[in-house]
Amino acid sequence: MKQPLWLLIKSLVLPFYKENTGVFFFVFVIMFGVVNMVDGAGIFEYHYSLAKGMLAHRLFLLPVLAAWALYLRKGVAFITGALQRPAYSFLYILRSLPLRKQWWLWLGVVAALFFPVLVYMVWVVYVGAGQGLIINTVITLGAAVAMCVAAAGRLVYYLSHLYNNHVAGKVSWTHHITLSYPAILLLQVARTQKLLWAGIKIYSCGVLYLVARNNNAEVYDISFPFLFFNFGVLVNGMIIYRMRELEETELQFYRSLPVSLLRRWLDYAVLYAVLLLPELVTLAALTPLQLHVADACRIAGVAYSTVLLMHSLSFLRAFTPGEYLKVLAGLFGLQILLVIYSQWLGMSVLFMAAAGGIYYYGYYRYQPATGAGAHVV
């Protein structure tokens, strides 16, 4: 039993974590990275209050449980999607196991998918027991167990019905429309990165809104709040990284098509404008009452040029996720420096020019990391 479970974790769960590295990084930073010591209260007190608040108020508990259920649903959808691919057809053999064994096996997989939540559950139980909030702690624990049990059952059912046409050949409304290249990339984000994208938007639009709404002064300094906002912009790099991965594997053929560099660039420009639309709309909504027009333009200009630059940098070489994160950290350092010297316009112009230059230089010179022409032996 141990070996098939490890095989399933390696082939289904680890790719899930890999694909959602950006989400986990973002959530980790929000949960642990941005929490500072205030009045002697640090990260321990912060999380203690969170868990206590959740267990003490069912109105707070319900959305948390709903978020966990959504997360698990996303994980299960990832696995069912993978099971449809020819590369995973070897898992058909699992159908020869008794249903009970299959269920235990999938329960192990679901537990691995749900691992971050289960770890947090230990903390919740600790807080609940300490605070005497036994009923809500049991409800939370019971809900988490029920989710895992149901998810494992769903996977057993899915595998047994995998080769029924109505499951494997499901046609969605998106299959009936003609898609341009940027629309394909957007669809990919909508399919696999929507959680991360929505998280970024809630964070960056939330920061913008809270800062601007609380700003009553005529003269104010936007530099510090901008850096908080800009963190959200930089996390878009994770979406860009995954999109570029798709381009270099399943969309590699597009490089061989007669499309000019300018047209390709305009496609990317439109794509990133769409991805940044919530931030741009929030900026427009806060202007001019809470935010000066000039500041809104500065923030929008830097955000857009940063996203384009992050995209162009990915043409310099095939970065690993870790290397790419370092590049983004370097970019953030440069931004801090330019903000300190109030070089807003300079930053937008510099980033836009660098994005265009690197893209023009790098697009056809890019060497993929995998496939022929990369690791030829």
């Binding site: 999607g81 449809q84 691919r85 020819p86 494997a168 050949g169 499901k170 046609v171 998106t174 299959h175 429309i177 003609t178 898609l179 341009s180 290249y181 394909i184 669809l187 990919q188 399919r191 798709l246 594997t249 399943e250 969309l251 590699q252 053929f253 490089r255 061989s256 098509l257 007669p258 499309v259 000019s260 560099l261 056809y364 010179r365 890019y366 060497q367 993929p368 496939g371 022929a372 022409g373 990369a374 690791h375 030829v376 032996v377």
Partner: protein, 209 residues
Amino acid sequence: MIQFRHVKKAYHTRTILDIPELQLHSGLYWIKGGNGSGKTTLLKMVAGIIPFEGDIFFQQTSLHGQPVPYRRQVSWAEAEPQYPSFLTGTQLLKLYLNVRRLPWSQAEPLLAALDMQGWIHLPVGTYSAGMTKKLSLVLALCSNTPVMVLDEPLITLDTTSVKVLCEWILRMQQQAGTLFLMSSHQQLDDSVALPVTVYEVYNSQLRLA
């Protein structure tokens, strides 16, 4: 005519391909070579997918100097095609046809010949390896470009499809003078005698076999 000028491809310090000068006129070319000899690398270079030193010309159009006009003349089908599983064959075909400004009717005869009309509208994620291969061949062949670069065009195809494909290639070559650059480990279908010129990649050189 395809012309290679001082073409070199190295990975780290190892030279994979070194073709100082070579001209290939209209015809059918079969590139042979052992695993990892650089066949696919060569074809990807001709298709403009990976970078290299030197230059490749079709007629007088340079791949590096005039990337878009060059790509208008060349079509590419890879050995083990991969496409986003959420797209349908129809969507991919429409994307190709739109980029090349061709009507849907251009692809219909080929879809019929390869018996693809029943499933082309389904998501690629539901295709078998053979179906995905057929799709990649249709995407390349429907564009009617004067150069077709087909990497391992016969693998995973059933025997009927191999015959149809060979007949199609022969007809395109005879009627339109298309230059086919193909690589394969397999033998061609005996019933369709393709007059191929065989080249071999050996020791980073491309030479007549």
